[in-house]
């Protein structure tokens, strides 16, 4: 009896998980489908699910109207650059806070996180004006800089929790074994921290890739990443659903592929510290 109840419970929860997963995935699926419809079919009521006239003309139009590769390159440079710089700053910061904490370490960490609680729009005008006078508007460097600063608190927090997990005893054992700080870093700490570094890098890459607020406000064309590319299809003249969908599908495709292949690392990154 007990076993039957367990089997049924497993079946129900499996079905529920699939249903829930499908609900979350549905908008992306719908977007993918709409990108292959004609503009007319894209907002037809009742909507057609699979039986419509499949076409790739939206992709052709999108590529013709705006240069996908140009924006994709900007996205790669901005997301990749901001992530790398953030890691370069965050690794030593998280390191020192995890391994030689002071009385104020917890306060500093909380203060850093608190900066994420402020709505970015609150500083939009000052940042915009600063960027304007520095000539950073619509420049890749400007976007790299702002995204790096925006994600830095999260990167430091994530790395801090990872480094915290490395037992002090192991570092002390390495010191007793005669490892210098440099060799300790190369032979002991880095190999142990690689999973954590990888998940942090991936998560930050995705956050930076998807960041829309600053990229939309601080770029127009030459530095515009894919977020701006998507937004350009929602215009005052009306929405072009099919073309917007095609643009969006193109924009999220690289990060979707990356996410797919690094699922394990990402899940670990997101749940880290929650489960021991």
């Amino acid at each position: 009896m007990a076993r039957m109840a367990t089997t049924r419970r497993v079946m129900i929860s499996t079905a529920a998980a699939w249903l829930f997963g499908f609900l979350i995935f549905f908008p992306i699926l719908w977007m993918g489908l709409a990108s292959f419809k004609t503009e007319l079919e894209a907002f037809a009521i009742p909507p057609s699910f699979l039986f419509f006239h499949w076409t790739t003309e939206n992709y052709a139009t999108v590529q013709e109207r705006s240069d996908y590769l140009h924006h994709a390159m900007n996205s790669i440079i901005i997301a990749g650059g901001s992530t790398l710089i953030a890691l370069l700053i965050a690794i030593p910061a998280a390191w020192s806070m995890a391994f030689s904490p002071t009385k104020r370490t917890k306060d500093i960490l909380l203060w850093m996180l608190s900066t994420k609680m402020m709505p970015p729009v609150g500083v939009l005008v000052p940042i915009y004006l600063i960027y304007k006078s520095l000539g950073l508007l619509d420049s890749r460097i400007g976007l790299v800089f702002i995204l790096c600063l925006g994600n830095l608190p999260i990167v430091i927090w994530m790395l801090f929790t990872y480094f915290k997990e490395i037992p002090r005893d192991i570092l002390e054992a390495a010191r007793m074994d005669g490892a210098t700080i440099g060799r300790e870093l190369v032979y002991v700490l880095t190999p142990m921290a690689i999973p954590g570094l990888a998940s942090t890098l991936l998560l930050n890459l995705i956050l930076a890739w998807n960041e829309a607020f600053w990229t939309l406000n601080l770029s127009t064309s030459s530095a515009a990443p894919l977020t701006t590319f998507i937004a350009s299809y929602s215009s005052p003249e009306g929405l072009f659903w099919a073309k917007l969908s095609a643009a969006s599908t193109l924009a999220i495709a690289p990060i979707l592929v990356l996410g797919w292949f690094s699922q394990k690392q990402l899940v670990r990154g997101l749940t880290f510290g929650a489960v021991k």
Partner: protein, 335 residues
């Protein structure tokens, strides 16, 4: 050689004095155990010797050379940690050989030494496994292997057996003792378990509240405890302490009698009268917890089986030659 001398070693963390001036002479090749209740400073003292903490005052001499400013690796000591602290991403071979690799030894020499250490510790079949694929006892042996392979002046053990189950702990206790005697290397061993201290040590350091209460061989500590703390800490079950009239008769503030030095007689004999509250029959021993009225609870130990039970009246006769006398401040009175 591995002679370690502490001269007035002090350690404080901010305003908190953890070690309040420790003087100690550890002879080459001896097995010294630091024992005491948790928070007594025994692990801190070990870490000071290791160099993982800096002293706040005093000197630590290894073979006559002050090492307080020498980094841990240069002191020629190796340490076995409570958590084993194995490198999780390295094989057993890598773990044991890491110190030698850091010292820049050639590869074939490292291999030879690692294999010799592994053979001593029965680890040969596991050399290519990762720590997570080993049992607790095997991990412990890898940690010991990592310590012995460097041929240090002294081993430092920080409660190395406390994560093992009881049976394995007894077995490892014997293995560690035998290994130390075989290698003839000085060892300092920290534990809170007084049975481990008594069985393994050549000499025991009893620590309490950051102070060395007594330093001596296990039997010295058992037979001539320097004060109430050592008397109560060494020996199991604990020594009985009696104050008041019986103590005054002996010219002391407190007298102490070990449970095994109380002669148990059925009611009517001389000595201290009481009622058995609990009787524990272990077969090899019988422990009686006796409510002796004004004298308080007394524990008595009988070697072998004694058919007495809770509620029975008994009289306990202390062995006059085995009564320990203490003054008001808790120090032992001799003579």
């Amino acid at each position: 050689m591995g002679q370690i001398t502490l001269q007035g070693v002090q350690k404080s963390f901010g305003p908190v004095h953890i070690i309040k001036g420790a003087d100690l002479e550890i002879a080459d090749g001896s097995f010294v155990v630091f024992v005491g209740p948790s928070g007594c400073g025994k692990t801190t003292l070990l870490r000071l010797i290791a160099g993982l903490e800096d002293v706040s005052g005093g000197k630590i001499l290894i073979d006559g050379k002050n090492v307080v400013d020498t980094p841990p690796a240069k002191r020629g000591l190796s340490m076995v940690f409570q958590s084993y602290a194995l490198y999780p991403h390295m094989s057993v071979r890598g773990n044991i050989g890491f110190g030698l690799k850091m010292a820049g030894l050639p590869k074939d020499e490292i291999n030879r030494k690692v294999e010799a250490a592994a053979a001593t510790l029965n680890l040969t079949p596991y050399l290519d496994r990762k720590p997570r694929e080993l049992s607790g006892g095997q991990r412990q042996r890898v940690a010991i292997g990592r310590a012995i392979v460097r041929e240090p002046k002294a081993f430092l053990f920080d409660e190395p057996l406390s994560n093992l189950d009881a049976a394995l702990r007894v077995q490892m206790r014997i293995e560690v003792t035998r290994l130390q005697k075989q290698l003839g290397t000085t060892a300092i061993y920290v534990t809170h378990d007084q049975v481990e201290a008594m069985t393994m040590a050549d000499k025991i350091v009893v620590l309490n509240g950051g102070k060395i209460e007594q330093y001596g061989s296990p039997l010295e500590l058992y037979e001539r405890p320097a004060n109430l703390f050592v008397a109560g800490f060494i020996g199991s079950p604990k020594m009985n302490f009696v104050t008041g009239e019986p103590a005054l008769q002996k010219g002391a503030a407190t007298i102490g009698v070990r449970p095994e030095h109380l002669k148990i007689e059925r009611d009517g004999g001389g000595g201290w009268q009481g009622t058995i509250a609990v009787a524990e029959h272990l077969g090899s021993d019988t422990f009686l917890y006796v409510d002796a009225g004004a004298l308080g609870m007394l524990t008595a130990r009988y070697i072998g089986e004694l058919s007495l039970h809770g509620g029975d009246r008994v009289s306990l006769m202390p062995d006059p030659a085995r009564i320990h006398r203490f003054d008001e401040s808790g120090n032992a009175l001799r003579g």
